[in-house]
């Protein structure tokens, strides 16, 4: 195109460039910690600390499970995340359905509590859970961690499921009943497929919240050590590069799930 262009177009071009620049800056800003984490998993470090680049190695991948307490902590975190996610999804879906569909005594109180659980600061939640467990004489450990994680991630599942259910045409469920489906059959064949995106989104959020929670977990863990707790404990003496590798792998799985989800969504559309 020639150099003669209206002022408006030129200004629009400049605006476009600025937008591109801005977008890239945001992307770099968001991904730089991840890039650094991945990179330092390949750092051939000699000292305890892992903060300066000293050359490329695959050693940490080979020795991934050499540090047994770290491995235990990671396994603890994975098990706790899986169990609390499963519980959260089941309880949260039922609550979301009840809140989205039915009228019952205490509904508005429940709605308020759901909101309150999202907005409560983690420190407050952790401290009050601890005093609850102490005063109830509940031994702290994996079980109390699971209870705590279900508590803070429940609301997210409830909110995503409720959002799906209120947009679901109730006559779909009536049609299923009319065609001979039992109450359970209707739920399984009609309601569940309709709310599934909400259930999955809530479940993924619950898993993500659980696997890297530090604050609440640190109050109620007793002697059980999770992945984030172990890392924070190791900061003083220097974080081993295996942590970066594990972080990279967890991130990789997350990316795979996100990509799979996007592909499935595109195929559905």
């Amino acid at each position: 195109m020639s150099g003669e262009r209206p002022v408006g177009t030129r200004r629009a071009r400049a605006g476009d460039r600025l937008l591109h620049l801005y977008t890239w800056l945001i992307i770099i800003w968001l991904s730089s910690p991840i890039a650094v984490m991945i990179m330092f998993g390949f750092n051939d470090k000699q000292s305890k600390s892992n903060t300066t680049w000293q050359g490329f190695t695959l050693r940490w991948y080979a020795e991934l499970f050499e540090l047994s307490d770290l491995t235990t902590a990671l396994l603890n975190s994975l098990v706790i995340a899986l169990v609390s996610t499963a519980l959260t999804v089941v309880v949260g879906t039922m609550l979301g359905l009840a809140l989205g569909r039915h009228r019952f005594r205490g509904k508005s109180v429940t709605n308020f509590l759901i909101f309150a659980a999202i907005s409560t600061p983690e420190l407050v939640m952790g401290a009050s859970l601890l005093s609850l467990f102490v005063s109830g004489n509940v031994p702290r450990g994996a079980v109390t961690i699971v209870v705590a994680h279900v508590l803070f991630s429940l609301s997210f599942v409830v909110v995503t499921v409720r959002a799906r259910i209120v947009t679901l045409d109730p006559s779909l469920e009536e049609a299923a009943r009319d065609l001979g489906a039992t109450a359970w059959g209707t739920f399984r064949q009609v309601t569940l497929p309709a709310i599934m995106p909400g259930v999955l989104a809530g479940g993924m959020l619950a898993f993500a919240l659980s696997i890297d929670d530090y604050v609440v977990t640190s109050f109620v863990n007793g002697s059980t050590v999770t992945f984030p707790l172990w890392i924070v404990g190791a900061v003083k003496t220097g974080v081993p590069a295996q942590v970066n590798v594990m972080g990279t792998l967890i991130f990789g799985v997350g990316v795979l799930i996100a990509v799979g989800n996007a592909v499935a969504a595109r195929r559905r559309a």
């Binding site: 779909l172 049609a175 001979g180």
Partner: protein, 355 residues
């Protein structure tokens, strides 16, 4: 009523409680629907048609009264245990299932053998002319096609009765008319009872064997289309079905003196309300014969409507009468605005409401 009714409602009442108020959606409906009949529930919006149908389907329990299906009291029987199916106004097709799976849904709930499902679903898609569309998803279909899937999904179960709640409401006029014919054909083909909800009187008149005209939660008249049109049981029915002129007054000696003329009501005395259809009335300038009903008036409005003219004629006492006159002779109107005219009709064309 002869024989066993397919569907029977006995003094059925339905009350809803909303915000501390009691709404009577249905206030005492009694009716019997015969096996194999095309039966319509017709009435204005909010008169309780859907509520009545939902009680038959089992989605709502009557507050009072009894619903019987094929002679059996079905109080407390859930919808999935009733041998009837429903076509929803919104179609309610399962969005995550293909056309084929939608239609197969009911048979699968009954654990029908696979070969039989395949055969019956295939046949049914053939009947509704969607044999090539089995693998489509519902949202990839047009409104009319979705409508036919909904119909197939219900009919494939061979219910003893099919309930249709304004099934053509969302379609445009052309498609509506095509589907009316289609529905009638399918009903004849499968030979089961159809209960059809509509607020479109034309639709009800053309399709039904019998019609229950509902108003404000009660059935005002239950009869065949011709009877309902010719002999409306109430002023409401007369006004709701087509256009109709209502004349009231006190009759003496079988005559109602009105608008400088008389309306013949043989055998009636005292206060009466008479209805006359606009197409039965002749408009003219000469005084009509003694054996006709005849009134005088002034033409207030002439509207050219293609195949006929519509006249609004004001009588001396202020009443207004609508007259339809076919454009058979020539394009010029019989009367002009402001003309003083005679309106006349045969005695048998005025019908005394409630007689």
């Amino acid at each position: 009523m002869t024989g066993l009714s397919a569907i029977e409602l006995e003094d059925v009442v339905k009350e809803y409680h909303s915000h501390g108020e009691v709404v009577q959606a249905v206030r005492g409906v009694t009716l019997g629907i015969e096996e194999g009949e095309f039966f319509s529930l017709l009435g204005p919006s909010g008169c309780g048609k859907t509520t009545t149908m939902r009680m038959i389907a089992g989605f709502e329990a009557p507050t009072k009264g009894v619903v019987r299906l094929h002679g059996q009291d079905v109080t407390g029987v859930p919808p999935n245990k009733r041998d009837i199916n429903m076509v929803f106004q919104s179609y309610a097709l399962f969005p995550h299932l293909s056309v084929w799976d939608n239609v197969a849904f009911g048979l699968r709930q009954r654990r029908t053998p696979k070969e039989e499902i395949d055969r019956r679903v295939g046949e049914m898609l053939e009947i509704v002319d969607l044999a090539e569309r089995g693998r489509r998803m519902p949202r990839q279909l047009s409104g009319g096609q979705q409508q036919r899937v909904a119909l197939a999904r219900a009919l494939v179960n061979r219910p003893r009765a099919l309930l249709l709640d304004e099934p053509l409401g969302a379609l445009d006029l052309k498609l509506r008319q095509a589907m009316q014919i289609e529905l009638k054909r399918i009903q004849r083909e499968v030979g089961i009872t159809f209960v059809y909800v509509t607020h479109d009187q034309g639709e009800a008149l053309t399709m039904s064997d019998r019609i229950a005209v509902m108003n404000d939660g009660v059935v005002e008249q239950l009869a065949g289309p011709r009877e309902i049109y010719e002999r409306p049981a109430s002023a409401f029915v007369a006004g709701f079905i087509g256009t109709s002129n209502l004349l009231s007054g006190s009759a003496t000696g079988g005559e109602l003196a009105i608008g400088g003329g008389r309306v013949l009501v043989p055998g009636h005395d005292g206060d009466v309300t008479v209805t006359v259809r606009p197409e039965k009335i002749t408009i003219g300038t000469d005084e009509p014969a003694r054996d006709c009903s005849a009134v005088r008036g002034t033409v207030a409005e002439v509207v050219y409507l293609g195949t006929y003219n519509s006249y609004a004629v004001s009588l001396a006492d202020g009443a207004e009468i609508t007259v339809f006159q076919q454009n058979v002779h020539d394009a010029t109107a019989t009367a002009e605005r402001g003309d003083s005219v005679w309106l006349s009709w045969r005695a048998q064309h005025s019908y005394v409401i409630g007689s």
